[in-house]
Symmetry: D4
Subunit: 152 residues, 8 copies
């Protein structure tokens, strides 16, 4: 991954539907050259997915929460987590809990019901999200990080 | 948002670069009709962004952690959070801490340095991610949710 | 709900037995007009109840406590809570416990017995009330909140 | 306070606007006799207040929370609590926190702002109410408690 | 209990074997008069016991600890506590634990064994005493508290 | 300390005013012999004090509590503890707090005032005593512990 | 153990393979004299072991963690601990947990698997080591501690 | 590092003073061959140190404790830690504390004094070691791990 690849990612990270022609202009490359580079980054697993971000608010999901979970039956718990439409992220963590889940529900009331459905897997602490100052920050934070500007 | 819109989102959510022609075939609509619908969902804010997911591992960021933070100077803290390249998410939460941050660094060692740089803003608990059973689950969980199949 | 309704509630909130004639004088309305407005607010559910507050001290209940409760059997727990004369409030909450109860007993000694009777439903933390700086604050905090004074 | 007084309170506790004539019928007493008894209970402080309960939901206050608070400057904290329209109850408690407050705000977002305004008084834990299985239980729980039915 | 009784307790509290003659001199009373007063305070339960304090160190008990205990089977736990020679005090307390015990053992090693014998009754936290700045303070703190010195 | 000394302590531990003649009878020794042994145990520090236990309830002290304290200024804190009439025991302990105090006050209300007076020394958790299943257990638990009965 | 023994330990503590001749020079003794002294310290148990410290990093063990453990079945737990190759230290401790273990695994991922294998013995909190400012400090901290230099 | 190297470490790990001749016999190699291999492992950093383990008990250090520490001034804290003879290990950890120290003192009393000297650097929790079921486990756990026995 050289500086040009990094520039490509910088432009693509929050505009995943940008055309190859347009992207080529941004990085001073021909359309076939930039297409080739993007394809190689897909193959290497540098680019993992092109994701469409859908508004939770607009699709009727008004409550977001994190749950710190302690279970002593990881297999049953993970089966539950994989199949529940409310759990959208799940991480194994250090500390006194063993999992951190991100949960999205229609309302505080349905969050309570989700909590009830978790009771058989262990104990947990619910952290309700009141606002989100940083929803997501682009991983290629700025163009200043990119060395060798003469390559451009 | 009718069942066809929901179908469109179902196909688009993890293939954001799909062409309109292809997407039209998936939902039995002409290319102009499906383009029109997608455009309307962008304008209404139902579609928030097309995001390219870049591998942390492949770009040299080997440590992911969550930090539960208690600060009594929210403004200074949020300024720091907005400008730090290591913080990629930040949520205001209920409970004894007031913020939950997602942090990505090169190694455990650089996570420690990031921790040191946080000391002046308050106290915190670091939860290191050991694995991620669910990295992200698509919000439109299955086509079974979608009513009125005869519309198709 | 217009400013006059708000004024009516302001006067009624801590003098629920005030006569309609008296109330009418407070808000510059005739007795039938004010009666009509109160009736409408009852029907709409704005006014939920007229409650007589009885002294705990004077009726031999000397100990007030809050209990943070974690149960994994919500149904059995709620049945218990509904029928126990000692529990006067119960809220489902976020955090590491799932319920917060307000409990009133004759003495610290009978609080202990109540605690024992809870043991089979889960674990809890007892917070004994030592004093109550604010027992209840009227929801319509001041007349300054009310706009359009010319309506009066 | 004899069994008849207790019966009076039983009927009055959740119907504070009941007329004396009606109340007299409930307890087999003349209107002047029942009026006399009620007046005596008011003078003795057994009856503390007649309160009109106003719906939080209907008056635009959608978020209820409890806050466990630790302050080391009780005077400044209590001044704040007395004058804030958002704090409707405040109790001094045993345990690691010194106060428990009940707080009502328009939304989770305004609860966050209230939290920020508390930062200068100490540290706290926010418990958001997701539902309220028991909002209030009448202190005179049932007529079975009342001895000497022959008095009636 | 008048000021003279209080003076008697002041002298007796840490010299329980003082003779009545000597005690009489301290408070300006005859031996029969002071004997009568002491006897009356014993009968009323003001004086509960005359206790000989035996050195733990000198009798081979080198480790003192407090244990915060949470049990959900109070009866079995209290039976254990009453019969164990290591538990010398046990209090029912508010907070997240339900009992606080004072425990004395020969060494840290035998404290560990005592801990093991407790495992079947619940969970606990052991607080080892490293020193005791105040072992016991006399309840009648000073003679200044006693009013009416002219009575003497 | 031989078995006879142990027997002497067994009898004396909760009857500190027993006469030497009486005590001699209990252990089959002459009055001068038993006096000599007691004196020797006093000199060696085996017997530390003869204490008169005065009823808290009867002397108007209705609230007992333990306080777990964390201070970072041990000297100021210990000065306060030594001179406060409310603190009757204070132990330096392991764990997250550094001191455990036993506190006795007239009421829950005066306990609150005591808590306020502690605020400047650090943070604390108040554990109110609801009952005391074991107030004090004699250190010489039973005569069965004493070996060599033939010595008697 | 005299000052010369202490000097011997000072030199030997981090150079366990030093020859007796060399060691003798360091402390101004003949080889047989120093050998005799070392032998005597081995016999008395002052010297417990000569240990070869092997690099974890170089032998493929990249993750070090401490685990605070609460078990109520000490025997089963200790059997597990003794036979697990991942646990390299285990201490019985005061506080709310009963054991502290030091654990070494190949990666965070294998630490997670180790955690899973512990689930049946109790609950635990994992503390991942991010760096080690002091890996080991020699017990004989400096030669200044050693009195009587004229003996040398 | 081949199986023979691993065998060498297995024999050397808890007998660091073993002669090369003896070690050669254990692994079927000549003295010069085994010396060469050991030297290479020292140069590569696989062997970090030959350490003489000195008994804490025999050198008058009767109390071992772990301290979980939270500081917000890491530099001052680490200076203190490096120079204190009582701290023999110090690790930077995840979780709510930032350091875990191993501390050795003469007695519980001197541990308390050490605690006092730490007060200016932050807050801490002291965990006193009551016993050590596993003091140290050899990193090369068994010969079964070693593949290719035919090499021997």
């Amino acid at each position: 991954m050289d500086p040009i690849d990094k520039q490509i990612l910088f432009h693509l990270q929050n505009q995943a539907r940008m055309s190859m022609t347009e992207l080529g202009k941004c990085v001073n490359l021909s359309q076939p050259a930039v297409t080739e580079r993007v394809k190689r980054m897909e193959e290497k697993g540098i680019i993992e997915q092109y994701r469409t971000i859908i508004s939770n608010e607009k699709t009727g999901k008004h409550t977001t929460a994190y749950m710190l979970f302690r279970t002593s039956d990881c297999h049953a718990f993970l089966d539950f987590v994989q199949t529940s439409p409310h759990v959208i992220e799940c991480h194994r963590i250090s500390g006194e809990h063993n999992y951190l889940m991100k949960v999205i529900t229609e309302s505080n009331r349905s969050l309570e019901e989700f909590g009830n459905s978790c009771d058989k897997y262990g104990t947990y602490s619910i952290l309700i999200v009141m606002s989100t100052p940083v929803e997501y920050k682009n991983p290629i934070f700025s163009l200043d990080d990119i060395s060798s500007p003469d390559l451009l």
